[in-house]
């Protein structure tokens, strides 16, 4: 059945996606853009930012303290521009971490929470984690994404992320690159970023975390990647796992120089 189609289209059809080439649904796209523009007047993600700010300062966990001393890479409590420089290597944990995993580190070490307590709601809508990541990301608004890969661990993780990105696997022989490595693709009227192209990568990564219209909720990049991988019919990666962070650092590196606008709005 699939021999006459390019493999990406075949796999997409197998997933039940309506993939269309640029130019097919222009009118529909224009109307959807109008819809999104009207919503952009007040992004519901702004409420997550407010909640996140509140949570940042709320004494929680066994130690009953806030997160004010949390180090997201620029020093304890220095948040402005921190998200734009993540993921990065942290000497205290010896790992490359993104904003989400770093917040978890702080919840454990500063606030005295258990891993279970800090991570139990990560996939629930309007979770504390979503609010905190949105708050932190919002404080990088206007900053350029800066992932220099200056530490060998960062370079190693980015290389692993790139390999994962291009790897085809799973029952559908599908990979990220199957949809995300060519220009002008759309899925259900949302433009699909072409990550090997830095301009396209910048357009995408600067919008996350994003209010996802289809979900009526803000999603973090961590959550989005885990769901994408699941949709490819790959085994779902663990929350905060190296596999997700490797992909994330690869994608952020591709988007280097892009000016952060998050929280944004996506399908």
């Amino acid at each position: 059945m699939c021999r006459h189609l390019p493999s990406w289209a075949c796999a997409a059809l197998a997933l039940g996606l309506a993939v269309s080439a640029a130019g097919d649904d222009d009118r529909a796209v224009r109307e959807i853009q109008k819809y999104r523009q009207m919503l952009q007047e007040a992004n519901p993600a702004e409420l997550s930012e407010l909640r996140g700010e509140d949570l940042w300062h709320s004494p929680r966990g066994r130690n009953h303290v806030g997160l004010e001393r949390c180090d997201l890479g620029l020093g304890p409590g220095r948040l402005e521009g921190a998200y734009a420089r993540l993921p990065r290597y942290f000497p205290d944990t010896g790992k490359v971490q993104d904003a989400e995993s770093r917040l978890v580190t702080c919840m454990l070490t500063l606030q005295g929470m258990t891993l279970e307590e800090a991570t139990r709601d990560w996939h629930s809508p309007n979770s504390d984690m979503e609010a905190l990541v949105t708050y932190v990301a919002g404080l990088s608004r206007g900053y350029a994404i800066d992932v220099p890969l200056s530490h060998p661990e960062e370079a190693r993780m980015a290389a692993a992320g790139e390999e994962l990105f291009f790897r085809r696997s799973g029952p559908l022989d599908f990979g990220c690159s199957s949809c995300h490595s060519m220009p002008g693709r759309r899925i259900r009227l949302q433009e699909v970023p072409d990550f090997p192209d830095p301009a396209s990568a910048r357009g995408a990564m600067t919008q996350w975390p994003a209010y996802r219209v289809s979900q009526g909720a803000v999603w973090t990049m961590q959550r989005r990647l885990i769901d994408c991988v699941r949709q490819m019919r790959w085994p779902q990666p663990d929350y905060l796992s190296d596999a997700v962070i490797a992909l994330e650092i690869y994608l952020q590196r591709q988007a280097n120089g892009g000016v952060m606008q998050a929280p944004g709005m996506r399908r």
Partner: protein
């Protein structure tokens, strides 16, 4: 400083905003006492709704500007904008034809406030959305069809 508190419900099951605002010292002299109009929200068609709101025979009008997307990506969040050019507009209501309840929202426009509002509504499915305006005691409406790709009332 925001404050939030539970209030006891009146015996009819609704709360009088007037009482709460008076308690919070928030009222100016122009405040009008009001309760939530349950029968308006239970109305099943536009004629019944207008009757409940004290009017008769709504007329279609081109002097009501309705701005909305032709396609709503998510029926749970549909942005709409209504501006009335009818002199003496003092209320603007939004009606959604195929929703479980026709009336979505009713805005009272006091003197000094422009007769225009923007909000976001849930639509169960593709249908007509109406803007119902009261001006100088008479009711007028306009409508626009909005297509919904993912319905937004339940599930």
């Amino acid at each position: 400083m925001p404050h939030s508190r539970r209030q006891f419900l009146t015996s009819s099951g609704t709360v009088t905003l007037l009482t709460l605002m008076a308690a919070a010292g928030l009222l100016g002299r122009e405040a009008a006492a009001r309760q939530w109009n349950k029968s308006a929200f239970d109305s099943k068609n536009i004629e019944d709704l207008v009757r409940t709101l004290g009017g008769t025979a709504p007329e279609r009008s081109d002097d009501i500007v309705f701005v909305g997307p032709e396609i709503a990506e998510n029926g749970a969040v549909v942005p709409v904008e209504v501006a009335s050019r009818l002199p003496g507009t003092d209320s603007i209501a939004l009606l959604i034809e195929k929703n479980p309840n026709l009336l979505a929202a009713n805005f009272t426009i006091p003197p000094g406030t422009l007769p225009e509002v923007q909000t976001r509504v849930k639509m169960a499915e593709t249908c007509d959305v109406y803007a119902l305006v009261r001006a100088q005691g008479k009711f007028y409406y306009t409508a626009m069809q909005i297509k919904v790709t993912v319905g937004g009332c339940g599930g």
